[in-house]
C-alpha cells in the first residue's frame, strides 16, 4: 500500500517536472540556437520601443526573435538580462540612462546627459559585460504635471511656482517614483515641497485620480501620451533636479560577440525618435487604442528602417 502511494507521488512529480521543463524550456532550447530574446518593461513606451528592437532584428537578420514584453518593472528586466535569453532571461531591452545610473548602479544623479551615458556605459560593461547602444533620441525624464486649467488659474509654469501653493495640494505618484532617491524624496528636498498629502498608486491610476480631483499633482513621464488625452500640463524642472532619462538599448556583450551585426542594426535607431514623436506614438496606443506592436512597425516603415 505504501509503495503504491510513493510510486503515485513520484509519478506525479516526474510528470510535473517534464511538463514544466517543456513549458519553461521553449525559450532556453531555442536561444542556444539562433534566438534573441527581447524584453520590455510594462508600460506603453517600453512595449513600443521593445517591439521596434525586435522588428529591426527580425527584418535584418535570420535570427529567431522571442518577445518578452510587459515584464513587471526595471528589476525584472535587468535581472532577466543578467541571466541571458539562453537561461530563462532576455538578451536585450531598452533602458534609460537615469534609471541605469541611479536605480541600478545606485550612483549620484547627474544633470549632464553625456556624463550620465558615459558612466552607465562604462559601469555596465565593467560590472556585467552589458553594452549600452546609441540612445534613441528622446528623454523620458520624470516630471510633474497638473491640469491645464488649474495651471492657468494659478499661473503655474515651473516647479518653483508649484512649490508656493504646494501646502494646499495632494501629490499622486507611482510607487516607484515615491521611493526612488531620484524621485520624490530628492525632489522634495531640492524644491522644499510641502504637499498636504501624498498618495502612491499604480501607473495608470494616477490619471484617474487627477481627473476625479483626488490629487492635484502627479508625476509623469515627459513622453507620456496620456498627458494629451487628460489635458495635463507638464511643469518645468527649473532647478534641474531630474537626471536625464535618455532611452537606449542595452544588450549582452556575449550576444554582440556572437552576432556582431546586431550593433549596426540597432544603432540605426540612434536619435530617430524625438520627445514629441515618442509622445505621439504613446498617444496612438494609450489614447487611440492602437496595438503597440503595430504602432512600432508603422513608425519603422515611415522612417524607412524596415
Amino acid at each position: 500500500m505504501k509503495r503504491n502511494l510513493l510510486m503515485g507521488i513520484s509519478a506525479v512529480l516526474i510528470t510535473v517536472l517534464i511538463a514544466s521543463c517543456g513549458l519553461g524550456g521553449g525559450a532556453r532550447r531555442g536561444a542556444t540556437g539562433d534566438t534573441i530574446v527581447v524584453g520590455s518593461k510594462n508600460f506603453t513606451e517600453q512595449i513600443i520601443v521593445g517591439n521596434m528592437v525586435a522588428d529591426l532584428i527580425e527584418a535584418h537578420t535570420d535570427l529567431k526573435v522571442v518577445r518578452k514584453m510587459n515584464l513587471g518593472g526595471t528589476s525584472v528586466c535587468f535581472e532577466a538580462l543578467k541571466r541571458s535569453g539562453a537561461n530563462n532571461g532576455i538578451d536585450v531591452y531598452v533602458e534609460y540612462t537615469g534609471t541605469g545610473l541611479v536605480n541600478i548602479l545606485g550612483m549620484e544623479a547627474t544633470t549632464d546627459p553625456d556624463k550620465a551615458y558615459e558612466t552607465v556605459a562604462k559601469e555596465f560593461k565593467d560590472r556585467w559585460n552589458i553594452v549600452w547602444l546609441e540612445p534613441l533620441g528622446f528623454n523620458n525624464t520624470f516630471t510633474l504635471a497638473v491640469k491645464e486649467d488649474f495651471a492657468r488659474e494659478h499661473k503655474i509654469e515651473t516647479f518653483s511656482d508649484l512649490q508656493k501653493i504646494s501646502d494646499q495640494l495632494v501629490l499622486g505618484g507611482t510607487m516607484e517614483f515615491m521611493e526612488r532617491p531620484d524621485g520624490y524624496p530628492g525632489l522634495k528636498e531640492k524644491y522644499d515641497f510641502k504637499f498636504k498629502d501624498t498618495k502612491s498608486m499604480d501607473i495608470g491610476l494616477r490619471y484617474t485620480a487627477i481627473t476625479t480631483g483626488d490629487v492635484q499633482v502627479i508625476d509623469a513621464f515627459a513622453t507620456d501620451g496620456l498627458l494629451v488625452r487628460h489635458n495635463l500640463k507638464i511643469l518645468q524642472d527649473d532647478k534641474h533636479f531630474f537626471p536625464p532619462y535618455y532611452a537606449a538599448p542595452v544588450i549582452r556583450q556575449d550576444v554582440l560577440e556572437k552576432y556582431p551585426q546586431l550593433k549596426d542594426i540597432l544603432n540605426q535607431l540612434a536619435s530617430q525618435i524625438s520627445d514629441e514623436e515618442m509622445q505621439k506614438l504613446n498617444y496612438l496606443v494609450d489614447g487611440e487604442g492602437k496595438e503597440a506592436a503595430e504602432v512600432a512597425k508603422e513608425f519603422l516603415k515611415e522612417k524607412g528602417l524596415i
Partner: protein, 213 residues
Amino acid sequence: MPVAEYINFMLERMDDIIVLTGQHIQLSFIAIVVAIAIGVPLGILMTRFPSISSFILGLANAVQAIPSLAFLGFLVPIFGIGSTPSIVMVSAYALLPIVKNTYTGLTGIDKAIVEAGLGMGMTEQQLMTMVRIPMALPVIMAGVRIAVVMAVGFTTLAALIGAGGLGQLIYRGISMVNNRMIVAGAVPAMILALAIDKIFSFLEKAVTPRGIR
C-alpha cells in the same frame, strides 16, 4: 460606459483572450499539481514527525505573508523570467491550505478509530493508507479547492514576468488606463475561478466515502 462596448471589445480580442486563458489554466494547473505533490506528502510527514509540524506550518504561513510582487522580484534572479518562477510562486502560495488541511484532516480523526486500527494490528503505514487518508480526503480536497482558486488569482501576476496569462490584459489595461482591457482580462479570470471552484466542490463530494457523507 455601455456594456455593449465592453462586450464588443471582448469579442474583438476573443483570440487573445482564448490564448491567454489557455496559458492561465496551464500555469495554474501545473502550479497546483506541484503544490499537491509537495503539500500532501509534507502534511503526511508532519503527522509522523509532530516535532516538525509547527516549523513547517510556520514556514508555509511565512511564505504566504511575503508580498507577491516582492516574491516575484526575489525569484527572477534565481529562475529568470517566464513560467518557472510563476509556477514556483503560485505553488508556494497554494502550499499552505493544502499542507494545513492535510495535517488537520489526518490528525482530526477520532482517537477511538485510530486505536481500533492499531488494536487490530495495523502498521502505521496501513493505518495511514487504509484509515487516515481515506477519512481525511474530503478535508484535503477542501484545502486543494481553496488552493486552486487562490492559484487562479495569483497566476494573473505571471504577466509581470513574461509568462502570459490573463494578467497580461489586466496589467496592460491598468497602465493604458483602458478599462475595457482590464475587464477583458478580469472577467475571464473570474469565470475561470468560479468554474474551477465548482468543479472542485464536485470532486470534493466525489472523494468523500459514502459512509462519512
